[in-house]
């Protein structure tokens, strides 16, 4: 079984356990955009995109997603969505409206980092998040910024070599979002009736 198939199985299992399967899957798609999540950022994603839906997602949706197989805890109050799962979820987010919602989530991420983030002391994480957001808003600009950093790393002016390699991979992976729409569309997800129905 490929990592992509395994990821799809995990997503299907997650959806199957939910009372609001489609809304929860959409929520997971939004949460897949940042390279890492904290509870506050996830809360703001729900508040801004899922509170006015009918029915709205309750606050328990946040912990259900964080403690689901889709996320793993990598530090105190820091979680990440597995890369293979993230790819699928981001494709779906793009497929919602050909990238419009994806841009909104990226804008929210940027605004959050700019105004409220508690990652000021973790500059590499903050930059990774900013670069991810910028990559969805203006890929050329993100590419140019990263190329500049890589050049500085080569010269030895910047020490974050591992970081730049990881981000190159991230930018490369994310650039595929929107290109593989034939692999993923809304009907490919199986929605199960909530328990008791």
């Amino acid at each position: 079984m490929t990592s992509s198939e395994l990821a799809q199985k995990k997503i299907d299992a997650f959806v199957r356990d939910q009372l609001q399967p489609e809304a929860m899957l959409d929520f997971a798609c939004h949460a897949a955009l940042p390279v890492a999540l904290n509870t506050e950022l996830l809360h703001f994603l729900r508040v801004n995109f899922f509170l006015d839906e009918s029915p709205a997602l309750p606050y328990t949706a946040e912990f259900e997603l964080l403690f689901s197989p889709l996320c793993r805890e990598i530090d105190e109050d820091l979680y990440e969505v597995e890369p293979a799962i993230r790819d699928i979820l981001l494709q779906r987010l793009y497929a919602m409206d050909r990238g419009e919602r994806l841009q909104k989530v990226a804008t929210l991420l940027w605004q959050y980092l700019d105004r409220y983030s508690s990652w000021d002391q973790r500059v590499e994480l903050a930059r990774a998040q900013q670069l991810t957001a910028l990559n969805f808003l203006d890929p050329a600009k993100a590419e140019a910024w990263l190329a500049e950093v890589e050049a500085e790393v080569t010269k030895g002016a910047i020490v974050q070599r591992d970081w730049s390699i990881a981000m190159r991979q991230e930018i490369s992976d994310r650039s595929r979002v929107g290109c593989n729409l034939h692999l993923i569309h809304r009907s490919s997800f199986v929605f199960y009736a909530p328990q008791g129905f």
Partner: protein, 408 residues
């Protein structure tokens, strides 16, 4: 007619979104805004209308922030909110005045429409007022600028929307009182004054008595980190509201991780004969009280104090509230955690019998978890307004036998 309906629709939508965010607003509040508009308030500009909404509907700083953010999202832009100076009025008064009809027209246009009227639904970030400023350098990595990038113009809401509000918690916990008259006599005792006047039949000075004070003490024991991390904002809000606005005589807060006391003698579990999902009912009387553990004075769980010392200082005859998910978040059932918890609760009872447990998860998440079993023995309530009201009632002495299957 159509414009009027559109305007009502926009206002009503705004009002409903506030209600979804737990603003305590009723139809009277909605009509208050209408009456204010009819009286001529709030027409002159977008900012003035926002201030009117804030003054009528927002009752705290956080509500003000939420309302402002939603207003930014829903209402037409400032440029759309223009006014005209009617010639006849200008001639009469010599001053500018706002034309209500024109304002209504502008007010009717939706954000989408207004976005379409500007640069094709997008706005250059560099044109907005410090919308996405450049970041500052903090490491070897250079700053990333988003200057000039075109992004959708949508202000986002960055105010937490919790299932209970600060005000709801404060109002609920203000009912927890242990009134005692203390201090110098400064309050008129009307009944005693009348009684003395009637008894003696002559005019006498009034009878004074000390004022009533709430001397209730509350000890908060809060589970932190691990499975409680997603509920940190909610628990913090609830505890802060109780401490700062609950008007209790004295409150103390200590933290723990998973269980306040650990290390109960598990040999007692052998009597359960290896059940798959054992319950403690049959050995409940044999579980000895447990007070060997540490509580932390800080949220990072670094500075600790012995549990027994804390209970000596704050626990005697105090109200005690435990905040924990009891294993419900991870949907786990661990008999050792249940045993430690029950042993701790028995130890706690030697200091005070006034205790409740608040669980940040709704009741349907407790089933088949350690929390579900704890709730059979300890008065446990979900962290919403209705259940917190019941929790306060229990602390005030209401019988709670029907709440639990097997009280300790």
């Amino acid at each position: 007619m159509k414009e009027s309906l559109q305007r009502l629709d926009l206002l009503w939508n705004f009002f409903q979104k506030l209600r979804v965010r737990r603003f305590e607003l009723g139809i009277d509040d909605y009509m208050a805004l209408h009456r204010s508009l009819q009286a001529g308030f709030g027409w002159s500009s977008r900012q003035v209308f926002l201030e009117l909404c804030i003054s009528l509907w927002a009752k705290s700083r956080s509500e003000q922030e939420t309302l402002s953010a939603l207003f930014e999202q829903l209402m037409p832009s400032e440029e759309q909110w223009i006014y005209v100076i009617p010639q006849d009025q200008e001639q009469q008064s010599g001053e500018q005045s706002w034309t209500r009809g024109e304002t209504i027209n502008r007010f009717n246009s939706t954000p989408k429409e207004s976005a379409e009227n500007t640069s094709g639904g997008e706005v250059s970030v560099s044109e907005t007022r410090g919308f996405l400023p450049q970041t500052e350098v903090k490491s070897g990595l250079p700053p990333i600028s988003i200057q000039g990038v075109k992004v959708a113009e949508q202000p986002f809401l960055f105010v937490p929307q919790l299932p209970v509000t600060y005000r709801e918690v404060a109002q609920t916990w203000r009912r927890l009182k242990r009134p005692i008259r203390l201090g110098a006599p400064t309050e008129l005792d009307l009944a005693a004054t009348l009684e003395r006047r009637c008894r003696l039949g002559v005019g006498m000075p009034v009878v004074l008595r000390p004022r009533q004070r709430n001397v209730s003490r509350l000890l908060l024991l809060v589970d932190r980190q691990g499975s409680m991390t997603p509920f940190d904002a909610l628990c913090t809000e609830v505890c802060e509201a109780i401490q700062k606005a609950g008007r209790l005589g004295e409150t103390a807060i200590y933290y723990f991780h998973n269980v306040p006391a650990a290390g109960a003698d598990d040999r007692i579990l052998k009597n359960l004969n290896g059940q798959l999902f054992p319950v403690l009912d049959s050995i409940l009387p044999q579980i000895p009280p447990l007070l060997g553990g540490y509580l932390y004075t800080d949220r990072s769980l670094l500075e600790y104090r012995p549990l027994q010392q804390v209970l000596e200082d704050y626990g005697r005859d105090a109200f005690i509230m435990i905040v924990s998910d009891g294993g419900a978040a991870r949907q786990s059932y661990r008999i050792s955690r249940l045993l430690d918890t029950i042993a701790f609760m028995k130890g706690l009872r030697t200091y005070s019998s006034n205790y409740v447990w608040l669980n940040p998860l709704p009741r349907n998440y407790w089933q088949n978890t350690t929390a579900g079993q704890i709730a059979r023995h300890v008065p446990m309530f979900a962290m919403n307004r209705e259940e917190m009201e019941t929790a306060v009632n229990v602390l005030r002495g209401q019988q709670y036998g029907d709440i639990m299957e097997r009280p300790l």
